[in-house]
Symmetry: C2
Subunit: 313 residues, 2 copies
């Protein structure tokens, strides 16, 4: 039986993993572990494979290093926490040069230093492709912990920054068309913003698999329904321009592309004005009762909100 | 410049990583982090790549799952600690079956349950080869912490169980010769024994890269010299039989093969009798002054102890 026959990546995770053992375990951006009276400890891990998460044809080794750290910090950020210690596992092609490694680590440390992460361990091996795994610990004050599962009926669904920019960049690179590829090659997570949002929001998640996937995660884990208004999804001018060049729909990039590392959070309307951050925040929808399902409104009609990036779809 | 030109895997690690940020960071089996008044927290990570650390021609998916957990628990054991929480990253081939994953996780949980490890998170993606990364946390009482760097002149160098068995099994499998392959396919770490040894030893390390490599690590990190007596290295009957079948030297398996996941520790002679464990312990050498270098005695002559498994040699 193929993984796609049981429903893809997330169905596989539900099937093979047990929940339990942590305060919050599998099913959020990071595991939440007992720590002190006032704080939880967090643990997350992300694996980046050559040819899938990065391509050395167009990413510099420094960019691969930066991205490897940034996507993990994004998971800790999405819990409302601060990252602390990282362990790096690397499989390298046997012909990897020392200069490549110097540049890769330069990027890794640049991102780590910006976010206060200490790299304390790792493992180096070789394989036929380059694979990077970062395991990252963090801490969060109990009152700032932001889970996927705490969205409440009536909350607004909000997004930081703009979406679809990573996939737009990737599609340009694949097609060899010039344009804005920075968001794909050098994604930046929203750690500072997440710390502020985490004080006020009910639920939070980072955008690794696309808006459609993330809103579904929040609704499933919270036992609620929701609606997203397509025309309210924030797109940058350059994402729209890239889509036009490629004759593609930029909303598809936002809904299904992923790797934007923006934040999606749900918050009561009255609390939204308390969130003071240095980036745009856009309301894209609302949390509804469970029986309403998870939908997208487009051109006056509502349909099920499906999609998002699935490694095994 | 190639990695082997600067001295291989461990020279690369010295070049690209910074030390600091942890109580003990890069350069031991696991990073040692601040925790409570009486205990440290530990963090380790190990990546296993198809074709390098396991081969699906002869390993069952369950065996791959068991090994992935066991080798990480071995790192926590070698610090004198107990494992707590794990996060699993997986890259799978797109054609991976659900049955394969069920069996892989059965093995992973079997080993995790035996050692009291809770699997609390992970990441699943796809690539052209299967890659498993386990990030494992642990705890250790301050007085039981066993570092590579605390060997003292005059200590005996001791080994649990026997060595070379994993490489002997691998060589049989590669050659298609029948024999004892269990130690390669289903390695078992020495968690219980390590907890007892940790109370008495000065330095400890697990055997992942072979006796030669591990003794050199201990001596380098401790700023001491040492001598290993070749004929005292413990070999099992089946390891010797396998070597005979393959016309190879079984001591080479022990010195350079790795993946035995036995423990090497250094301890004052007077304390050795306090170590009461359910496995053989063999004295294989002695810690000397730094100026003596790290040597092996064989047939009456002493030579530099070189070798051990290096991914980039």
């Amino acid at each position: 039986m193929n993984i796609k026959d049981i429903g893809g990546e997330f169905a596989l995770i539900d099937r093979v993993t047990r929940r339990g053992g942590a305060i919050v375990g599998i099913g959020d951006d990071a595991a939440v572990l007992k720590y002190t009276d006032k704080r939880y400890q967090l643990l997350t891990t992300d694996m980046l494979c050559e040819g899938d998460h990065f391509n050395l044809q167009w990413s510099t080794p420094k960019q691969v290093g930066m991205k490897s750290m940034e996507v993990n910090v994004s998971d800790i950020a999405a819990m409302g926490g601060l990252p602390t210690y990282a362990a790096i596992s690397l499989s390298l092609r046997p012909d990897t040069s020392v200069e490549f490694m110097d540049a890769f680590y330069e990027g890794l440390y640049e991102s780590a230093d910006r976010h206060g992460v200490k790299i304390v361990g790792g493992d180096t091996t070789h394989a036929s492709i380059m694979v990077v795994n970062v395991a990252l610990m963090g801490v969060v004050e109990k009152e700032r912990l932001s889970l996927r599962s705490h969205a409440k009926r009536g909350d607004l669904i909000c997004v930081t920054g703009d979406l679809g920019k990573s996939m737009a960049g990737l599609e340009l690179l694949k097609a060899g068309v010039p344009g804005d590829t920075k968001a794909h090659l050098e994604p930046k997570c929203r750690l500072k913003e997440a710390r502020i949002i985490g004080k006020h929001c009910n639920a939070m998640i980072d955008v690794s698999d696309g808006l459609a996937s993330e809103v579904n995660h929040i609704c499933k884990e919270s036992g609620v329904g929701g609606i997203v208004f397509r025309k309210m999804i924030p797109l940058s001018k350059s994402t729209v321009e890239s889509a036009i060049k490629l004759c593609k729909d930029p909303y598809n990039y936002a809904l299904n592309g992923g790797e934007d590392y923006e934040l999606i959070f749900t918050i009561p309307e009255k609390d939204l004005k308390k969130v003071k951050v240095n980036c745009p925040i856009t309301v894209v929808g609302e949390i509804l009762a469970d029986k309403e399902g998870v939908k997208i409104e487009s051109g006056g009609s509502k349909t099920a909100l499906k999609g998002g990036y699935d490694h095994f779809a």
